[in-house]
Symmetry: C2
Subunit: 442 residues, 2 copies
């Protein structure tokens, strides 16, 4: 039995090591197109900020360690074609350009995703960067070190994290965000709180303003509003696109952005071909739709499950509900479930309540204001989503919501939850329960 794994970061390596542990006799070969495996990509902005002193800290386990555990790891090897009927995949050795067809019994595609790059004039300039992998991070570090001014193109999660990193290194930062506000995935009120905080932290936030082109000598970022921002370099943070181009022509079922559609058993539409992580879809539990939510947490979970499934275990992935959390300078910003508009789009009769509450008992020192929007189904009062922002008490609290939304709890049930309370940690009614208490049920 031979299992080939395309991609050696979170999903691929989780799957490979879990599989090898469960079925030591299975031959497991991992092809990783880059030179690094199993690293914490989510930590890269904090390395650039200077908060992580050694790059090696980001690497959970080296290729050598995986090899010692019997996983055959091939670095700088990328998949370029697949013949699923013949059960073989064509692999190119990037060091010398040679290619070779490898046969498999089962194939796991965990090829990840790469930053979306805009097709604009000047895009080839070396001063136009993105942050997709450790190689990108190494490329960016000297620019951060010597620069005094940068433009961040995109005000989503990664854009905000990079802006924080660059400000932390003392750079002037302009942020262009084409949408009306930063963090467009968030409720408008929550996003505007973050936007105000970015400005307070010295980020020159330009919303409703997209990238038009790059000019050189001097390097200038031209916006679609006709403004030009001179800078030492620019970082594009415009989301990611699945690395699935090598599957074109194979007939594999993909979402419109190229993400491989998988079922609850991580199977693709091709026999004996599985997929996991940032290259694959996940099922949204609340809408039933297959969506692309490339997050490290899903990559680790689906990778580990893929390993178990490839080892023959009868397990399934039940999907996601859109939970995420972000540090934006001194704020914690988090969401789970459906936003009000997403809930309506999905056919729910959605209502919402918004509250402000202290992060812990108001009389205990250090309480911070938490803003919270709770979305619910007016038909049965079930909670559908929560957006939250505050200087404290948000990042873990959102996961209480993620759990009760997964459990399908209604407002009354949430208000009665036996949540642990002490003044240094919560108000006597947790803000989530204060919000639930305000929902008027039929």
């Amino acid at each position: 039995m031979r299992v080939l794994v395309i991609g050696g970061v979170a999903a691929g390596m989780s799957a490979a090591s879990k599989l090898k542990r469960l079925k030591p006799k299975t031959e497991v070969v991992v092809f990783e197109s880059g030179v690094d495996v199993s690293y914490g990509a989510c930590g890269m902005p904090y390395y650039l900020k200077g908060e992580i002193d050694r790059e090696s800290k980001l690497v959970a386990r080296t290729a050598e360690k995986f090899r010692k555990r019997g996983v055959d790891v091939r670095l700088e090897h990328e998949a370029i074609d697949l013949d699923s009927e013949a059960r073989k995949v064509e692999i190119r050795d990037r060091r010398n350009g040679t290619t070779e067809w490898w046969t498999y019994d089962k194939l796991l595609v965990a090829s990840g995703a790469s930053p979306i790059r805009l097709d604009v004039a000047g895009r080839g300039d070396e001063r136009v960067l993105a942050l997709g992998d450790l190689a990108d991070m190494r490329r960016m570090e000297p620019w951060v070190e010597r620069a005094s001014k940068a433009v961040v193109v995109g005000g989503g999660y990664i854009g905000v994290e990079i802006a924080e990193a660059l400000r932390g290194r003392g750079l002037e930062v302009v942020m262009l965000e084409k949408q009306a506000s930063v963090l467009p995935a968030f409720d408008a009120e929550i996003a505007s709180t973050v936007e105000a905080h970015l400005i307070h932290q010295g980020v020159d936030v330009r919303t409703g303003e997209g990238l038009k082109s790059y000019g050189n000598d001097p390097f200038i970022v031209h916006s679609d509003l006709g403004n030009g921002y001179e800078a030492d370099f620019a970082v594009e943070a415009l989301g990611v696109r699945p690395n699935t181009a090598f599957l074109e022509g194979t007939g594999i079922d993909r979402l419109s952005n190229g993400a491989i559609r998988i079922d609850a058993s991580m199977r693709t539409s091709l026999e004996d071909v599985y997929a996991a992580g940032d290259c694959a879809s996940v099922r949204h539990r609340l809408t039933g739709e297959d969506v692309h939510l490339p997050l490290g947490t899903h990559a680790n979970k689906t990778g580990r499950l893929a390993g178990r499934i490839l080892a023959g275990e009868d397990v399934t992935f039940d999907g996601v509900i859109g939970s995420s959390v972000l540090k934006a300078f001194d704020l914690e910003v988090a969401r789970t479930g459906l936003s009000e508009s997403a809930a309506r789009d999905a056919g729910f009769d959605a209502g919402s309540v918004s509250i402000e509450a202290p992060s812990h008992a108001g009389y205990y020192p250090g309480a911070k204001k938490v803003r919270l929007k709770m979305v619910y189904d007016k038909q049965d009062c079930r909670i559908l989503g929560v957006d939250m922002v505050g200087a404290a008490g948000v990042a873990h609290r959102i996961n209480i919501a993620a759990t009760f939304i997964t459990a399908g709890m209604d407002a009354e049930t949430v208000a009665k939850l036996d949540l642990a309370y002490a003044p240094p940690f919560s108000p006597v009614w947790d803000p989530l329960q204060t919000a639930a208490n305000q929902i008027r049920c039929p």
Copy 2:
């Protein structure tokens, strides 16, 4: 319609104000035996520590404010007898000793609980204190101010909080705990972590050593091991006992410690007599037993629900699962659900896993070690309880567990929960999920 409420702190005032808001025409009279209403008793140790500068900050709303909202609040009035057949309660005005029978349509007993005091020699000494209400706090403050050494009798929640407060004010502190470890409600491993921390913080912890008597000139706390601890004063922190002595002879159903047994609609065994808060039982959802867990969070929840029920709403209280959290100097200590021994006592085929994990991604600065014990049912892998301790990332994380335990989730479901992740806040696998991953299910 006249509703009488005995007790004006968390449960009583929550009920009174909720009822008055829902049914403005109902006459609502609250009899409070002390001089304060609606205060945050859980904040008292932090006032004594000096972290809360004004006593008034602990008072959520004054009696005058309740009166303005139409609630008739009578301070220094205590219930001394009940004739439920005649629907009347005897009230004594503590200021002048006069008594009066008040008739009611419905009665809510929310008389709270008071510190258990030991019947030992020297107990009447003015230097033997306890912390049950604001009056006790006022009495204790000058002792804390001028003393240099104190003995805390009891190493439970309140004892630990008081020890922290006294150390914070620079006192030498001896803690006597009759049980083998502090925090006996917690798993032994977790409790021993706290005990080591108390010692590290300079508390002279004496476990397995109980109080025997108090001697005077000089004031000495004698232990049952024959030791004598000279001190300026002592604080007894030995738990609380429900204030239900006035119900003796009424036939009302009570637990062995005197807590009034109530059903899911907050009804006692006497017609039109309801109870809520620290004087009443709560149903443990996992064991089905009526237990006495006098916590502020239950008092607020059951009080508010009692107000709705007295207003005629058809709502019920579904019970508790034993969630609690404690700040012990620099540690967060929390638990929810059943301990392993409690689970076995309740008839579960209980197993457990214990892990240590970082509070957030190990490569991000400031990660603290979290110790976690997860108890589960070996029959169906359902999670039954979690104990946790650490310098960060515990107090809110326990409530994720409280929620999935309430929802009846098994280990596999917990491991797949879509919890929000970012390196500054969690490892990519939340410690709760790391523990769940270690549970081997049938």
